[in-house]
Symmetry: none
Subunit: 192 residues, 4 copies
Amino acid sequence: MSRPLRADARRNRAKILAAAEQVFAEGGPEASTEEVARRAGVAAGTVFRHFPTKADLLRALMKDLLEQVTADAAELATSGDPATGLFEFFGRLVRRTAANRTVVGLLAVPLSGPITSLADVVAELLRRAQEAGAVRLEVRPDEVMALLESTCQGALSGAWTDDLRDRTLEIIFFGLRAHRPLPHPGTGWAES
Amino acid sequence: MSRPLRADARRNRAKILAAAEQVFAEGGPEASTEEVARRAGVAAGTVFRHFPTKADLLRALMKDLLEQVTADAAELATSGDPATGLFEFFGRLVRRTAANRTVVGLLAVPLSGPITSLADVVAELLRRAQEAGAVRLEVRPDEVMALLESTCQGALSGAWTDDLRDRTLEIIFFGLRAHRPLPHPGTGWAES
Amino acid sequence: MSRPLRADARRNRAKILAAAEQVFAEGGPEASTEEVARRAGVAAGTVFRHFPTKADLLRALMKDLLEQVTADAAELATSGDPATGLFEFFGRLVRRTAANRTVVGLLAVPLSGPITSLADVVAELLRRAQEAGAVRLEVRPDEVMALLESTCQGALSGAWTDDLRDRTLEIIFFGLRAHRPLPHPGTGWAES
Amino acid sequence: MSRPLRADARRNRAKILAAAEQVFAEGGPEASTEEVARRAGVAAGTVFRHFPTKADLLRALMKDLLEQVTADAAELATSGDPATGLFEFFGRLVRRTAANRTVVGLLAVPLSGPITSLADVVAELLRRAQEAGAVRLEVRPDEVMALLESTCQGALSGAWTDDLRDRTLEIIFFGLRAHRPLPHPGTGWAES
DNA sequence: TATGAATGAGCCTTCATTCAT
DNA sequence: CATGAATGAAGGCTCATTCAT
């Protein structure tokens, strides 16, 4: 592929991505490329040199985001408490999304590679949670992904308070959970 | 107010709404008004005579949609089986949304009247389901609306098969459901 | 020419002209034909049946206006005090214009016939004023018309108070007037 | 603020202003921005990069014009013959306007700074002319501005020959002028 | 390579005018 | 004849993308 970028070029790429994250987080994917350039302190042309197309920029952004998220999940998948890892991750992602409209782009811009690995890590989190007896055995990875996606979208609606978001998540978690003696005198489970 | 439209005008209005439904269903609210006109087989000006503003067109569309949906829910709320009404409605709406991206507009275009009544009807469905012992008592109406909204959004992702959608819904329903005597065999969870 | 209109047609014509006078007085010639129709209580098509073109409507309007103004002037020219008639008329017209932006149209829409007769009546007013010794003899009709037109335009600027308008007119009248001793050689006037 | 434009940009800006001067001179402020672009040999977008709004373009144009005019007046106010400066300036401006309908914009587009200074300079010209005994002492600056404005407007009518214009101006000047024994025992005319 | 000006297609909207009802 | 819906050409403006400097 393209050989290693010059130092300043790499720096610019980073500045642009950082600016883009802000800009698209605020304005969603409709935000203008020019605004990204402005916020990055470069000229429009520079943005297009690095990302020939607005879609490319969005894709790159989402790849980054996914990598972070995936790394986060991967850590939970190896070091955390298996019983809570999935829920913890789910909650984190939804909260993050609420502050970052970029993710809407996930709908518009077709992703290819990395998303797979997110799915992989989520699958791992799920497996562990099931092994730990925290999640019903018949829940499948694609269902978790679907719930994740939905809830992230919902979190963008702007009308969600933190409280509503947490209560809503609780219902979904309840739906995922294996209910041994079926408690719910009080929903009785902690959320970090 | 405006008296009954002339026959041809009413026909055009209908054609425009139909075209708009298609166009916005496919392209979301960003789709162009011009495209709506083209698809309706009228000139741009005609669209604007009927809906002075793009937002007006979207509002009209959504009002229609909401009215249908609300009517649907209202019927379930009065005539159907209280235990299943909420779930039935939830599923119907999600399925419907999957084929109609217009609903995204619900986020962008501020609605006034009818949306309230949708929330009202949903609250009623919820109340009945709880009375019938089908839904946990601590579930609140706003949570149901939030789940509804999220799932509808998710259903737009395009990546959902009918099967995935149904399995995902089932998890949410499980989360809503009161599991005391564990009715509903086949919803199956771990360890009998 | 076109034979006498049916009674209702004539009534409509009048209603339209009346509405147009209002509308254009308020909004100038940019005002929309549709607004005229609305205010006249007829449909757009009716306006165009009577006046095939917006310009035709404006022309008709101005013809009417001119006729009134001309009649006004004609009366002053026959019955009033010769020494003050011209000034009186001048002032009236300017005041009237200030409240009626339609007159701007005089610039945009080429007039033909009637304006001549206005010029004629003004010439008559001028002649009498000169005979009465109230206006310098070398003042010519076209100059008076030019001053009239200019001042009417100026009166539209919106920034004129009644007071400013009167003081400005006074200067112009002073310029027209015959000043007894008449010194100032070189400024070129009659009777050295 | 914005640092010096690139050479080509400055060239374009100039081309646009030049084209705009022509276009608006011919068609008045209603003329289309697109026509300006066409005449300047640039794309529409370029015009909007330089002047984000049509009003901005008009303002820039008028600012330029006013600056020239003001500079012109300022020079007359300091170096010329006090007795004729005002008249000279008045005449120049009217002649200039006759060839430039843009000035009509002065009515439509709200100006801020420079127009004040034009009024200031005119006031100065007036003061000097009065000191020199060339203009009646009771003439006030706002009256001169009003006459100026009116006459410029009138000059746009297209129907003025150079000769008519000069004769008309002469009457106004006569109205401004101090006439030897200064008659005007009362302005002596009735106003209704 | 970065810059930032230029491009030009496309968007929403308005309005004079035409024409089916 | 009147009606009022339909037309379609502009118009002002935005923005992704290209390209001269």
